[in-house]
Amino acid sequence: MSSAEPAELEVRDLAVVYPGRRGRPPARAVDGVNLRVGRAEIVALIGESGSGKSTLARALMGLVKPTAGRVLYQGAPLEYSTRALRRYRGHVQLIMQDPGGALNPKQNVYDAVAEGPRLHRRTEGLSATVRDALAKAGLRPPEDFLARYPHELSGGQQQRVVIAGALALNPSVLVADEPVASLDASVRGEILGLLLGLRDQLGLSALVVSHDLALAWNIADRVAVMYLGRVVEQGPVEEVLLHPRHPYTQALLSVVPDRRADWHPVLLAGEPPDPSAIPSGCRFHPRCARWAAVTGEQRDAAACDRRELPVLAPSDGSGPASAACHLLETTLLETT
C-alpha cells in the first residue's frame, strides 16, 4: 500500500456476510472495509448497532472468517488453521465489553491471567509473568489481587484483570470491543487512561471499537466511522471530529450530549440500519439530510440514489481525512 512499512494490523476489502435465517436475506454485516492500525497507534472504530463494527472486530481476531478480502498482521495474511490462529492470538489480543462475563467466576485472578500463557505453553516464569501483567494493568501490588475472585473485585478492577490477561501474552496489538461501555463514568476515564499508557509506555497498538465518539477524542489518534458495513469517513481525530465532512458523521456528532449549553441534535429519520436490507445507491441516502436538500443539476450529478457508496482506500497515520460521499465531489459544500 502507500507506506513502506507494513501496518501492525490491516484489513483489505474485507466483507463478512452472515447467511439469512428462515428465508430472510443474508446480512452483509461488513461490506467492503479497508483499515490500518500502525505501530503504537490507537484507532477508534465508531458506529451504531448494525454498523458492523463488532463483526469487524471479530474478523480481526479470526473469530469469523471473512467472505471476501483479508486480514493482515505485520503484512502477512491471516491464516485460519488452528495452529496459525493460536500463534496469531499471541500477538493480537481481544478485550471484551463486559468483564463480568469475560471472567470465569470460579477462577481466581492468578489463574485468569495465567490462562493465556498456559494455553500457549509459555509456563516458564509464569508467576513473574502474571505479576508483571497485573502491575502493567494497574493492579498494584499484584500480590493483593492474586488470590481474589471476580466477585470480590469492582467492575473497574475486573476490566483491569481482563486487560492483564491480554498483556500476559505480550501482544503487540489489542482489539478492544467497547472496553468501557459497561463501566461507571468515574471508572471509565481510568481504564481509558490505562490503554493510553500502554501505548505510550509499551508501544502497543490498539483498535478500539465503540459507539462513543467522545472516547475517540479521549484516546485515539485516528478514527473511522462505520455505517451499514462500510467506513464512511476516516482520518486524524481532530480533523474528523472537529471538521466532519460526511453527513452521517455530522449527524452522529450532533447527537452526542455534552456539557455545552447549546445542544441541537440533528436527528436522522427512520430506524437504525439493517444489514440484511441495505438500500441501493448510496446506502445512507434514505436518511441523508444533504441529499434531501439538493435539487436540479446537483441532484442529477450526484445520483446518490443510484450510485453505490464508494469504498474508502485505507489511510495511515500520515494521510489526510477522507469521506465517502458523492455530494462532496459534485458540489461545493461548506465542509465545516
Partner: protein, 344 residues
C-alpha cells in the same frame, strides 16, 4: 419549583414549596436492605420536593442508590427493603398509605419508565393490549375507548397504527422504549419516573427519546424524575439536577449551573468524565476518578466520598457533611464548600 432540603438549618430557601403547587414532597427517605443479620443502607436520607411540570435529574453511578430511591417512592423497592421517611404525593404519605390508595396512585398519578423495556414488557401480548389494560383498569374506560386512546398514545411516540398489534420482540430497542413511554402516559399521570430510559440505546435513538420526553413534558406539564449515570444527558433533559453518592444527594441545583460550575468534588470529577469533543483539555487525556464507588455495605464514618476525594481534609474523615445551602438555588454536601462559603 423543586426544593431540596438542606442541613443548613431553618430559613433555607426553596424548601417551603407553596401549598397547592407541590406534587411530591419527600422527607428524609431511607431505604435499608437486610442481608442476613446485616443492614445495608442503600438510601440514607434524601429530601426534595417537586411541583407540577418540574423535571429533576438524579445522577449517580451503580450502587449510589439512585434507582432504589426512585422506585421506593412508589413502594417498588422490593420485599427486602425497609423504607422510612415520608413520601407525600398530593398531600398523602405513600409510605403509610393503604394498598388501595397506593394502587390508585400508581399508573394514574405516577408511573414508571423502566430501564430494560424488553423485560418490563410482556413478551406474549401485543403492545396495544398492554397499554389498553391499565386504561381500562384505572380510568374506567370502555374497551373501545381505551383502544382508541392507546393507539393515539402509540402514534404520539412514533409507533404507526399498523404496528400496534405487534409483539415486543418485533420492535427495535428504541421502539420498545417508546412503547414504555406511551404506556407510562396511558393513565395521564402527573408524575413520570424514568429509570435510565436511554441507557442501552444508540446515541441517535437516545436523542430521539430525549426529544420525545421533552415534548411530552412541554405539552402535558407532567413532572419527571429522570435517573441516569450520564450527567450530560440529564443536564439537557432536566431543569434541576441532584447528584447522588453513597445513598445521599451530595449536590443539587439548576442543571446548567451544576454541570458548568460544580461545587462538590465528586460532581466535578463526574462532569469531567464526560468529555466535550473539541475541548483541548480532554484530548488524549481521559479523566477519571481513582478508586471505585463504595458498596452500600462498606459505608463507614465521615464523608463517604473522602477515600476518593482529591481535596480531602483531615476533618472530612470525622464528619459526614449534610447538604449546605451554597446560594439560594444550590446545595452541596462538602466541608470544603462549607469552609469556603464561611457559613456555620
Amino acid at each position: 419549583m423543586i426544593g431540596i432540603e438542606t442541613g443548613a438549618g431553618p430559613g433555607a430557601g426553596g424548601t417551603e414549596a407553596q401549598a397547592g403547587t407541590t406534587l411530591l414532597d419527600v422527607r428524609d427517605l431511607r431505604v435499608t436492605y437486610r442481608q442476613g443479620s446485616r443492614e445495608v443502607p442503600a438510601v440514607r436520607g434524601v429530601s426534595f420536593s417537586l411541583g407540577r411540570g418540574d423535571t429533576l435529574g438524579v445522577a449517580g453511578e451503580s450502587g449510589s442508590g439512585k434507582s432504589t430511591m426512585a422506585l421506593s417512592l412508589l413502594r417498588l423497592a422490593g420485599a427486602g427493603a425497609e423504607v422510612s421517611g415520608e413520601v407525600r404525593y398530593d398531600g398523602e404519605d405513600l409510605l403509610t398509605a393503604r394498598w388501595v390508595k397506593l394502587r390508585a396512585v400508581r399508573w394514574a398519578g405516577a408511573s414508571v419508565v423502566f430501564q430494560g423495556a424488553m423485560s418490563a414488557l410482556n413478551p406474549v401480548r401485543n403492545v396495544l393490549d398492554q397499554i389498553v389494560e391499565p386504561i381500562v383498569l384505572h380510568q374506567q374506560a370502555g374497551p373501545r375507548e381505551a383502544e382508541r386512546r392507546a393507539a393515539r398514545l402509540l402514534e404520539s411516540v412514533g409507533i404507526p397504527a399498523r404496528r400496534t398489534r405487534a409483539y415486543p420482540h418485533e420492535f427495535s430497542g428504541g421502539q420498545r422504549q417508546r412503547v414504555m413511554i406511551a404506556m407510562a402516559l396511558a393513565c395521564d399521570p402527573d408524575l413520570v419516573i424514568a429509570d435510565e430510559p436511554t441507557t442501552a440505546l444508540d446515541v441517535m435513538v437516545q436523542a430521539q427519546i430525549l426529544g420525545l420526553l421533552a415534548e411530552l413534558v412541554r405539552e402535558s406539564r407532567v413532572a419527571v424524575i429522570m435517573i441516569s449515570h450520564d450527567l450530560a444527558v440529564l443536564s439537557h433533559a432536566c431543569d434541576r439536577l441532584a447528584v447522588m453518592y453513597a445513598g445521599r444527594f451530595v449536590e443539587t441545583g439548576p442543571s446548567r449551573q451544576v454541570i458548568e460550575d460544580p461545587r462538590h468534588p465528586y460532581t466535578r470529577a463526574l462532569a469531567q468524565a464526560f468529555p466535550t469533543i473539541g475541548d483541548p483539555a480532554s484530548r488524549l487525556a481521559p479523566s477519571g476518578l481513582a478508586g471505585d464507588p463504595p458498596r452500600p455495605s462498606q459505608i463507614g464514618e465521615g464523608c463517604s466520598f473522602a477515600p476518593r476525594c482529591a481535596v480531602v481534609m483531615d476533618s472530612c474523615r470525622g464528619r459526614d457533611p449534610e447538604l449546605w445551602q451554597v446560594d439560594p438555588e444550590r446545595t452541596a454536601a462538602c466541608l470544603r464548600v462549607l469552609s469556603e462559603e464561611g457559613a456555620a
